[in-house]
């Protein structure tokens, strides 16, 4: 545990140091923001460093093993329906709790002059993501090539983008990006690796990954469809 703490602290400092160095250099050369903003940045950096150390430690000893255990347990049970239910539930609930999704929905509600219902958008993003997480898990189970699934999904996205009202297109792409936040990502990642490491004949590297990437297509398509219905 002690070694892990030391290693994590070192890694976090190495990760954040360049960003802080660049900001400090910019502050004294080009940007010259007010002293208040700069001090706020320094205080925020200290909090962020401490937080990231605890977060990464906790992920390593808590979230990742837990997610893997659940993923592996799902396979042992050999029930496809249970797998579908858990994947859908995890995807949906993690998304509607993600802070960035709430912020985006509020912004969308305001910029469209109330045309987009705030709560409605959160749920639509959640359903879109849950649907695609489930599909991505089924892909691992049935051994469908990831390239087929991704090609089909993104072709649909491109085609839909020509029929979606223009003001909804950036919103749709942003919904896809914000859903996979700092917390959802490791949970979904751990589930996928857990699942593929126990299934016979699956490689953790080519089958275990891709869940996050496929999941983020769901909200894009869901919001585009919403835009078409609303107009």
């Amino acid at each position: 545990m002690r070694n892990l703490l030391k290693g994590t602290t070192f890694e976090v400092l190495r990760a954040i140091a360049p960003l802080i160095a660049v900001v400090i250099i910019l502050q004294f050369t080009f940007v010259k923001a007010s002293a208040g903003t700069f001090i706020q940045f320094l205080v925020g950096s200290v909090l962020a460093i401490a937080g990231m150390i605890f977060f990464l430690l906790g992920i390593e000893v808590g979230i990742l093993p837990a997610g893997r255990a659940v993923g592996a347990g799902l396979v042992e049970r050999r029930s496809l329906w249970l797998m579908v239910a858990v994947a859908f539930l995890v995807g949906f609930s993690a998304t509607i709790g993600e802070p960035d999704v709430l912020v985006l929905s509020k912004q969308a509600h305001v910029t469209t002059g109330g045309a987009v219902p705030e709560d409605g958008l959160v749920y639509i993003i959640g359903i879109g993501l849950a649907f695609f997480v489930t599909m991505a898990m089924m892909r691992i189970v049935f051994g469908v090539r990831i390239a087929y699934l991704l090609t089909a999904s993104y072709l649909i996205v491109i085609i839909l983008s020509f029929f979606t009202p223009p003001e909804f297109v950036p919103l749709a792409f942003d919904s896809g990006s914000v859903t996979t936040g700092a917390l959802t990502a490791p949970i979904v990642l751990a589930l996928g690796i857990g699942l593929s490491s126990v299934l016979a004949g699956k490689s953790a590297i080519s089958d275990g990954f891709g869940l996050i990437g496929i999941a983020s297509i769901g909200p894009i398509i869901a919001v585009m469809i919403l835009g078409m219905i609303l107009s």
Binding site: L57, G73, Y154, D174, F209, G213
Partner: protein, 246 residues
């Protein structure tokens, strides 16, 4: 930012994080009782770790919100007021690079890739590819705001390129590439780079500040997909080349 706003953000952030984790804990608990039956000590350790990560994430998000969002905005406004507007583009590259370098979920993904591939794909390699990719696309996003290019002119060809690359890259890299696209838009990018985009757009006097500022996030999600698959293509060519020699 006033104290009340900070407090409000803090509560919202904490609530979202706790909600998401509670669900995982509930599912784990059900599985533990019905199916897994792991040793109690082990489960208690898992819960301790989960608690630690919740506390850490909240602390991290608060730090990023009070410190990085306003400063990102300050940088964006300063860049927007440069006498030579194109100068903002290399700065966009640099800031994209250091921000992704510090994104926690990117680190987790890279660690997992190294572990799952038993060291065959090094975590540094994926990290570097992701950071360089995002740097290029933030530069592109900056250029877009400065020269008012519609986002779809970049997004549609970008995703079309991604679909084509899917069929030429090494198979192991596909899932990793799309996951990297998901994690690159983590809390750092969503605050620091979003602030940058908003500041730049407001300094440029753009009418639709929100649309221009937000589009940047979609570009950041696309960036690692292309750069990591590019890495996969390079690896594949290298392996073939080596095969010819031996």
């Amino acid at each position: 930012m006033s104290g009340a706003v900070v407090l409000h953000n803090l509560i919202n952030t904490a609530q979202g994080v706790v909600d998401a984790v509670l669900l995982l804990v509930a599912i784990l608990a059900i599985f533990q009782v019905l199916l897994l039956k792991l040793p109690t000590d082990y489960v208690i350790n898992l819960l301790k770790g989960t608690l630690l990560s919740v506390g850490g994430l909240i602390l991290f998000l608060v730090g990023v919100q009070i410190g990085f969002l306003p400063y990102g905005q300050a940088i964006g406004e300063a860049l927007g007021n440069f006498p030579h507007k194109w100068l903002a583009i290399p700065f966009g590259f640099l800031l994209g690079l250091v921000t992704t370098w510090s994104e926690p979920a990117v680190r987790i993904l890279c660690d997992q890739v190294e572990e799952a591939s038993a060291g065959a794909i090094r975590k540094r390699t994926v990290l570097h590819a992701t950071c360089v990719g995002v740097a290029f696309f933030v530069a592109l996003g900056t250029a877009r705001v400065v020269y008012s290019i519609p986002i779809l002119y970049i997004l549609i060809p970008g995703y079309a390129l991604a679909i084509v690359m899917l069929w030429f890259t090494k198979k192991d890299f596909i899932g990793v590439a799309f996951d990297a696209g998901g994690v690159a838009t983590g809390p750092m990018a969503n605050t620091f780079l979003l602030g940058l985009g908003l500041g730049l757009a407001s300094a440029a006097g753009s009418q639709s500040m929100v649309i221009y500022g937000l589009g940047l996030v979609a570009l950041i999600a696309l960036a690692p997909i292309i750069s990591v698959m590019m890495l996969g293509i390079i690896m594949r060519i290298r392996i073939r080349y080596r095969g010819v020699i031996s």
